[in-house]
């Protein structure tokens, strides 16, 4: 890995852009949700203001080292995921380290944050946190399986595990993987619903039931850090899906359009659906998404 100016620029600007975009999308979600529910809703930049407010607050208490480090684990995973995804196609600045890692690495680094968070939430001793973690990990097993099936189908089809190679394959919009292997996309996008944690798969934080679950003992700078991480991670996941299925983006406008459309899928689903119980959501992920995943693999094989 050689260090030059474009690498350094990428390292500095990618997380900042990711944060701004992620936070704005978060604000937009709140507005859209409000409009669907016939409310006016907060301003678009409310999430950013919230985060700034949280950072400026003074924290008085902590529950120990793991609780202190939990949000740090989360943001480490988010930023690392971001660095290993090519944000802008063929750009020298925004490809970052994507040549040094592949899809299987991304699969694992994406759960790194949740596990770190789970450890942090565990030390607080709040039973709600533990219940949330138990649900979250169970649901993780649910949606990872169809997601991996989709990825395996794509990896076999294009004989590569690197995102840049996948981008190179999709040089024209007719060659986007969403059209080349639609079943893989179906499996992956259903898994994506679970990954984003909006309803019907929001049993992990279940606001009115277990007091927002794992993050319930985190406030002030810790909550601020977690929201930052969540914004960056949302953006990273959206870019990942854009790269895999929608042919990536060669400029920021295209990127914003594609990621926004993708983002609206879980958001709009979330607005109209009530909440699944954990075992229901696991069974859901192991029914239709799994079926699509199997079809996707079979299509590639035969």
């Amino acid at each position: 890995m050689e260090i030059n100016w474009s690498t350094i620029l990428g390292i500095i600007f990618t997380p900042i852009i990711a944060f701004i975009v992620g936070v704005t999308y978060g604000g937009l979600t709140r507005v859209i949700t409000a409009r669907v529910q016939n409310r006016y809703g907060p301003p678009i930049f409310q999430n950013l203001l919230d985060i700034i407010k949280l950072y400026s607050k003074e924290s008085n208490i902590n529950h120990g080292v793991m609780q202190h480090l939990g949000p740090v684990f989360a943001i480490t995973a988010s930023v690392t995921t971001l660095f290993f995804v090519p944000v802008i196609k063929d750009s020298t600045v925004f490809t970052n380290f994507s040549f040094h890692g592949d899809l299987i690495f991304l699969l694992y680094i994406m759960v790194f944050g949740s596990l770190g968070m789970a450890l942090g939430a565990g030390q607080t001793g709040n039973p709600n946190s533990a219940i949330g973690v138990s649900r979250g990990l169970s649901q993780l097993v649910g949606y990872e399986v169809p997601f991996v099936m989709a990825l395996v189908a794509i990896m076999i089809q294009f004989q590569t595990t690197n995102l840049n190679d996948l981008l190179a394959v999709q040089d024209h919009f007719t060659k986007w993987i969403i059209f080349q292997s639609p079943f893989a996309f179906l499996a992956a996008i259903l898994a994506f619903l679970g990954m984003m944690g909006y309803a019907p798969f929001d049993v992990v934080i279940a606001p009115a039931e277990i007091a927002s679950g794992p993050p319930s003992e985190f406030g002030g700078k810790y909550l601020g850090l977690m929201l930052t991480s969540r914004s960056i991670f949302t953006f990273a996941k959206l870019v990942l899906f854009t790269d895999i299925f929608l042919g990536g983006a060669s400029d920021f406008i295209t990127l914003l359009i594609k990621t926004f459309i993708l983002y609206m899928i879980p958001v709009l689903t979330g607005i109209v659906f009530p909440r699944y119980r954990t075992e229901q959501s696991i069974r859901f992920f192991w029914s239709w998404p799994l079926f699509f995943g199997i079809i996707a693999i079979l299509v590639v094989v035969f």
Partner: protein, 616 residues
Amino acid sequence: MNSIEYILFITFIGAGLTFIVHHALPKLRDTLAILVSALDLYFVIQAISEKSKVVLSIADFHLIWKTTPYNNLFAVLIAVLGFLTILYAHDFMSSKDRLGYFYMNFLFALGGMYGIVYSQDFISLFFFWEIMTWASFLLVIYCCKDAQPIGLKYFVFSAIGAYSLLIAIVMLYSLSGNLELTNLISNFSNFSVSNQLIVVTLLLLGFGVKSAIMPLHVWAPGAYFISPSPFTALFSGALSKMGIFGIGLVLFKFAAQSGYFSYVQIILAWIGGITALLATFYAIFQTDAKKLLAYSSIGQLGYIIIGLAIGTPLSIASALFLTILHAAFKAMLFMATGAVYFRTGTTDMNSVSGLIRKMPFSFITALFGIITVSGVPPLGGFAAKWMLYESLIQSRHYFLVIVVFAASTAAFLYLYRFIFSLFLGQEEKEWEDVKEAPLLMVIPMLILSAFVLVVGVFPGLILDPISQSMNYLGNFNFNYETSVLFNEWGNQVDMQTVVNTIGAVFLIVGLIITFKGFKKTRYVSTKDIHTSGEIPQENENLTYAVDFYKPFERAIAPILKSSIDKIYTGIANNLEQAFDYLRYVYTGNGQTYAMYVVFFLSLLILFAELIFGINL
């Protein structure tokens, strides 16, 4: 004398001596055991450069012990783990009695393993195999009377394995008139196909019992659970690897020559996959930390079996990598659990909780252990898992890779439960006075933790000896650098970049969050939490541990209903009834037996011509 002679001599004499010393000078006993294992370690490393060979000729049988790259890999693993576990045992066992018995069998088990890995003929292999089995059996039943049925189960399954090994060895001898490994390997292709298949199946069965692949695993959870922790670490870390050692040898030295190899491969790979998945599911619902780790161990060996069975260079590399790594992390986890047991007297995850602040080093070991098992970067587990997935995908095992992935994702569940129940969660008053384990127990744990960290950043360090031993097994070459892994399509993972990124972000954010208003925060207890306005009383139980994964259990309930253990128990019960009828035959009356003898002799005479071809 050369190094191998020294190793076998020192270990076995040392085993006997510790038993004697235990009665004469109890204080010297532990030192002697540590000394023996340290000397073993020294001579094992000597043997690598020395290229030792020992030949012993008895009655026309040549017993041969020799170093090969493949042997050395396992010998080093045994020696290092043996040394660390004996070091750990010093404090752990200090309050127990019958320590002469314990250390003698411990060293016998070690010696048996050295014998197995260095053997170049099937006679000495079988001989040492039995020594190892006996020593481990005696350690399984060491603790108490409860161990009896568990020990019996272990013994019956070991016997099944040993008999299949023995039959295979006898078959090999009758087919080729020779039991030297090199001769057998070169003769193997001359055997008829059915003979090849029978020999390979029997050998795999024999070795498979020790590595606890399903459906031969039922002895493992109990045996790992009941044996004392230092030995459990060795048991799961090294002893079970003897099965892997044998399976590797059988697959690539024998089975690869037969025409049915691809079928053997695919069957074995799927057995490994199912083992990994089901063992993981069982592990999730255990309530005892040691039982959880036992099932986890079975599952991890499933991955190793898959890696060996697939048989591409990358998959074998991942299997051997995981073999070494599993020895390290499973020893770490068993040691950390042992440390908890040492201080609290229980490993029940429903009752122990919140030990993180009392046992920080054990917690760090457990944390490193679970990160390695889960395969999350940057620790060593990631490299092993990565190589396994890549090789599965590239060798077009589409559905097996899904099974493996489901298993290793589900592994997060039990791993989190393990660390959460023991170390995190509510700090109960009951465990207020718990202290960190003694220094001699902490040191081996930290050494292994450092090892998994270094291997995670520089997997190439142990891929060097692995690629040498793969060249011994067959002509397997794969591409790697000290910290970069490549798959067969040429895609890479650069661990150095990964670790740098993770490290840098973690440090920067960690420092910022720590120094931002750090002095103003104070530690509050785990009772001081958000409970919707209610103030929890001092004696109120806020621990969430019982039925931790109830929702997941509901989701996968249909899979868990059937259990192979129940089938075996059913068979055993039926056999018991059948043997009841045998009582009518064995009346206990001498005259009846005399009648049987006369009856049998008359039968012999009647059918003499048919059976012996002679006319009386």
